[in-house]
């Protein structure tokens, strides 16, 4: 049996974390979800992962833009500046798409944004977005992390 996907989620609202779990479950995605409840924890985890010799260990980052301490912008920049996670897929979850997000999504092929679900249909859609990102950009998707 294949290994479960490793997903980081930077989100301070437990209700939204639970929604993501629901979305994964609905789509029958076998995942381990690591929750980072503020910007500081998210940055620290990215730094320590990048130093870890066993890389890459993460298949996807689900990012809320409005986090305590450091916002999603800072976290995305840090992730993209790492050695091993510069091309890791990211789903920005926001209820208000900003110009900054749109511009970044336009030039970063491994970045999409989607609104936080407010209906069951949207919840299912979120799960589909996760599946799609994992299949296109995740580990073992024929798109290995760059050497060096």
């Amino acid at each position: 049996m294949a290994q479960p996907f490793e997903i980081l989620i930077a989100e301070d609202n437990p209700a939204d974390v639970a929604l993501v779990r629901e979305a994964l479950k609905t789509n029958n995605l076998d995942c381990v979800l690591h929750v980072l409840s503020d910007g500081e924890k998210a940055l620290a985890r990215i730094d320590s992962l990048d130093k870890d010799p066993k890389t890459p260990q993460v298949d996807l980052l689900i990012l809320d833009m409005h986090l305590p301490k450091h916002d999603g912008e800072a976290i995305l920049k840090r992730l993209r500046s790492t050695r091993h996670y510069a091309r890791t897929p990211v789903i920005v979850m926001t209820s208000l798409a900003s110009r900054w997000i749109e511009d970044n999504a336009a030039k970063d092929g491994a970045l999409v944004y989607c609104s936080k679900p407010s209906t069951l249909d949207e919840l299912v859609k979120l799960g589909a977005v996760v599946r799609n990102m994992l299949e296109q950009h995740g580990r073992g998707a024929g798109n290995p992390a760059p050497e060096q």
Partner: protein, 501 residues
Amino acid sequence: MTAQTLKALTHLGNGSDPASREILDALPVAVYITDSEGRLTYFNAAAAELSGRSPQLGVDQWCVTWKIFLADGTPLPHDKCPMAVALKGGEVAEGIECLAERPDGTRFWFMPYPAVLRDAQGRITSGINVLVDITSRKHAQDQAEQAALLLSAIVDSSDDAIISKDLNGRITSWNQGAERLFGYQAEEIVGRPVTVLIPPDRLDEEPRIIARLKAGERVDHFETLRRKKDGTLLDISLTISPVRDAKGNIVGASKIARDITERRRAEAEILRANRDLEQFAFSASHDLHEPLRSVKIYSELLTRRYSDKLDGQALEFLGYLRAGATRMEVLVSDLLAYIQVSKREEGPETADANAALAIVLASMAASVSESGACIVSEPLPTVPMHAAHLQQLFQNLIGNAIKYRSRERKPEIHVAAISQDAGWTFSIADNGIGIAPEYREKIFGLFKRLHTNEEYSGTGIGLAICQRIVDQYHGRIWVDSEPGRGSTFRFTIPRTRKSSE
């Protein structure tokens, strides 16, 4: 009084024939005659009337009057009066103004015209004096002086700067308000060109103002900047009117300058406060949406996932929970739309109403066909407003016409606009349930509703948004209605937008 008249009178006075005396008696001016010593030998009826007394012939000396004063009010002894001076061989200046008092205390102003008669040897034999009553002229003169004093007191007490200039742009008068406002004293600025008050980058304003004045036009509430003596700039409002001479020629201009620095500051503050409020409302509505989203989706999840474990009442309660959250969501977005009406829209400020209506009808296609509504529109004008605002007006008013339709007939909606002097009046007429007269003004208020949510859903913001949009263009919105028959909403859009310049 000409020398010739005086000479004729002298001849009359000299003649002792009754005919001459009759003429003198009948003259409407005061005349009296004295001997060489100044004793009165004759006075006419007009002299008695003017002086308010009947002098004693041969006793009263020098003058027919009771008491005399100089123009400055100092008493003048009779033996120093102009007639006495003349009889004593002195020169009498012409045009002296004297004040006399009658025995009853009343006073009058007069001008004496004394003359002496001489015999063949040149000795003075008698004198004749004509007193011309100038009281009414003096009064008129006093009144004019009083009025001028009052006017200058008013001008000086004004907080506004009141300045006059000639057509060469030189300052000709400068009140205390101008001294306070600009810091120049009248002495140092009168005679200088008005351009000393104009900042260098606005010097082109002056020729334009002068040109308008020469054409006889006024300049009303022209808001601009002017420079004080110390170089600081002032926000002022100028009202400039041409000044004409007695013949009607324009000879200069009067200028009232009002300091509007404070008003400008207040306006900027209101603008800032409004922007803050918009910003606040925007974030608040976003932040309110977030918890609502959780309520909505979890109540949906509960319903879907646990419907077999919940009894009927629990499911009913869940239904209320979801309905409440949905309603709150609509409220928050409507409120946001209401607040954002005042936000500056991008794009041109003209809208083709036909295009705006077409866009709205396309977006409403579902509800139009569901209700079976028949919507007819006349050719519509292009109006000076943002298309988004006009669309919002159509959207809300046509949406209401469909929503508040009668159960007995299919909705028929007629959209038209008529052109008038001041602008356009749009009308959206329906055959719906109508509105009772007592509610026709109320409905434009925020959160004002006439129906329960079960009867007709809504937030009570739609018409308030319409009101706010129309207000922004200085137009008007109102409704005429016959309950049970239908309503006609009308709004006006003025032809030229009132700019804030």
